[in-house]
Symmetry: C3
Subunit: 313 residues, 3 copies
Amino acid sequence: MSNPLAGKDLLSTQTLSREAIELIIAQASTFEAQCQEKRKLDVLEGYILATLFYEPSTRTRLSFETAMHRLGGDVISVAEATKSSSAKKGETIADATRVIAGYADVIVQRHPRPYSAEEAAEGATVPVINAGDGSHEHPTQALLDLYTIAKERGQIDSLRIALVGDLRYGRTVHSLAYALANFDVQLTLVSPPALKMSAQIVDEVRSDIPVIESDDLASALERCDVAYVTRIQKERFDDPADYEALKASYQIDRSLVKRTNPEATLMHPLPRVNEIAPEVDQLPNAAYFRQATNGVWARMAILALVLGAKVEG
Amino acid sequence: MSNPLAGKDLLSTQTLSREAIELIIAQASTFEAQCQEKRKLDVLEGYILATLFYEPSTRTRLSFETAMHRLGGDVISVAEATKSSSAKKGETIADATRVIAGYADVIVQRHPRPYSAEEAAEGATVPVINAGDGSHEHPTQALLDLYTIAKERGQIDSLRIALVGDLRYGRTVHSLAYALANFDVQLTLVSPPALKMSAQIVDEVRSDIPVIESDDLASALERCDVAYVTRIQKERFDDPADYEALKASYQIDRSLVKRTNPEATLMHPLPRVNEIAPEVDQLPNAAYFRQATNGVWARMAILALVLGAKVEG
Amino acid sequence: MSNPLAGKDLLSTQTLSREAIELIIAQASTFEAQCQEKRKLDVLEGYILATLFYEPSTRTRLSFETAMHRLGGDVISVAEATKSSSAKKGETIADATRVIAGYADVIVQRHPRPYSAEEAAEGATVPVINAGDGSHEHPTQALLDLYTIAKERGQIDSLRIALVGDLRYGRTVHSLAYALANFDVQLTLVSPPALKMSAQIVDEVRSDIPVIESDDLASALERCDVAYVTRIQKERFDDPADYEALKASYQIDRSLVKRTNPEATLMHPLPRVNEIAPEVDQLPNAAYFRQATNGVWARMAILALVLGAKVEG
């Protein structure tokens, strides 16, 4: 099978084809199965991953690092790149990644500035993977989300998917919306008016798939197969009272699930604070912790594919 | 030999049996011998350790990571977990470890809050090892301490052991006292009145072994086989003058050792500041740097045993 | 071939012989060639490197860690050692490295205090490599610089080398000047008067090779084969106006290169801010990014040699 990702950066889901997404999902599934048999593969033996985080992160960085270890590779890591002497001295992102490309075979970068991944890719002579650039995109999260949907529901096509919460600043939902536009799905966007997804993204996605916008969580839950919930942050509101007023209407508890749609697959990029009650965790359709674990298999696939590794099916 | 630690958390020494402690000591000794022959074993090949430190640490984290490498495993690490976006966003400890249990086969956590290790274990589906929870416990330090005593003195039973310094807030002495209660030892607790071990712990330990409390370091040294010294922190005293007044009476130098007990094995969990003078380091019974190195062998044993690894004797 | 570095610390270039430097260069070249064939060697399999950084760093730490991985070894790392509990509690550097020497086979330390590497070496029972001690020295940078000069120019002897920028506080130029004094080179030191290299270093170097001091960048460029440029920091000047006044005269752009010496090899320890314009990067003699990558090969050689590893030629 040809690999359209080999040697390429992964900066956004906007430019990913359905073929590329399906390749990643298939490869993630293969790796997941292989790792049940054997804890460590030798697919990327001798390769080095650099994780370069200008914003602190736990799950994204760790799951990439575990992915690399399970593929037999090694890792070098800057967990707090903003504090590095280079960044303080005013080095550009492009210079930093150009140097690190001399040390590593692939670079995973998180940075608070939108499009900083593009700057990184410009400097680097090795593939750069965007692990979050401000409120812009987080493509590998979207890919593990798609892998999770495919696993939990058997397929992606024909599903009705609701994205819930902060759709304006949440980078994961941006990348996910773009990625879902490649499939035959129906999207419902559920958010407070102040946190609606930008018209630009909605328009782009709507040119491919049907998109409904709503601020009514209960009825959106009733009409969906998958609810993808994100956190609403108090600090996004000018008036804290506005936050308090709507907080409750974006909280999912067992009673709401039971009342609206006990079958909907519940997802969340995590960390979760109040938006899904812990009592929901025990429900069989509460998929968010399985979703986190899927990050390892999806990122194994991404690393192996951008590095053009020979992999068995 | 049956392994009572396999698949279990290691949160406290309070619930460790003598059998389990002896198994760890025996395994540590085996690993130490094997590593003289071969720098790296394959006991945990393909396993991943996550070190999750909500409090900065050097020696505990590094010795666990070295232990994992020497066993052939891989490591993912959060050296400053309090700064991670998840902790800042208000994620619970249980959620954090539940996610990380999807990335790693065993989790070592340090956190400033007592009993936070229990919270972590509740969330995780893999073994959690407590690497210090506030002023509560530090069980793996106690285990390397016991391994050190066994190596330095040939046995633990029948020894007279003095714990010296801050016995109120020092978590290492809490775990060590609980662990020693499994052996036929006599314990002397030497501390300023304000820093006495809590009556609750003393009573519990005293139900198993004889415990003497004292604030006279010199005579305690005279009557012990092992002196375990910990740091007294200025900030524990309401009035700094109180600290200055007693500081000198808790400092061990060569002359004190010579005068009281030149044979006593001297231990310290380190870092040491003023409580043991550098001139003492050269004495053959100054065991504290050997003790630090023993952390590697003891932690190799702990990791291998909680992971239920097949090990040769 | 005998290896004068085996088991030794690497604290300074002042005491390095020409023989030792040439051994490192030859070994770096061998490793670079071997890594074109095979991504990972087994030269240091089972060995553990500890990187201990009391000052944040990206390139030095990461290139050492990549070097260790490519040699088949493992790494433990403290990226922010000043924040570690031990340093905060007042542990000495010697105690810290003595403990870490129980966990690792070689220690790479960066610390803001001059001669702190000597303190570290005093405590450690394993080789200590100085990765920068304040404004004093940075010997491994000098060694990768020499390797770069040798690669770019075919030899070191007979070259005219200009060191440009902050020669007072820049530790890389101190180590480089000492190292170059072993070769048959002519040195030009180009800096603003306030940032001249200390007379003590200049005198020492001048006892071996010719040294010219200047503050005229253009004519120094005209008369050199290699220009080694370092950053001038605003904060070094009492009066910011002094900095602004001379800033422009220490900036290298394409027009200056073309006008003075289009053939000179351009080097820089990086990070670069304004002192070399990005338009210069495309010139074939702009060697600074290749120089950064050479850090991996030079540090592989240093690690293997101080550890006395058996290496093939």
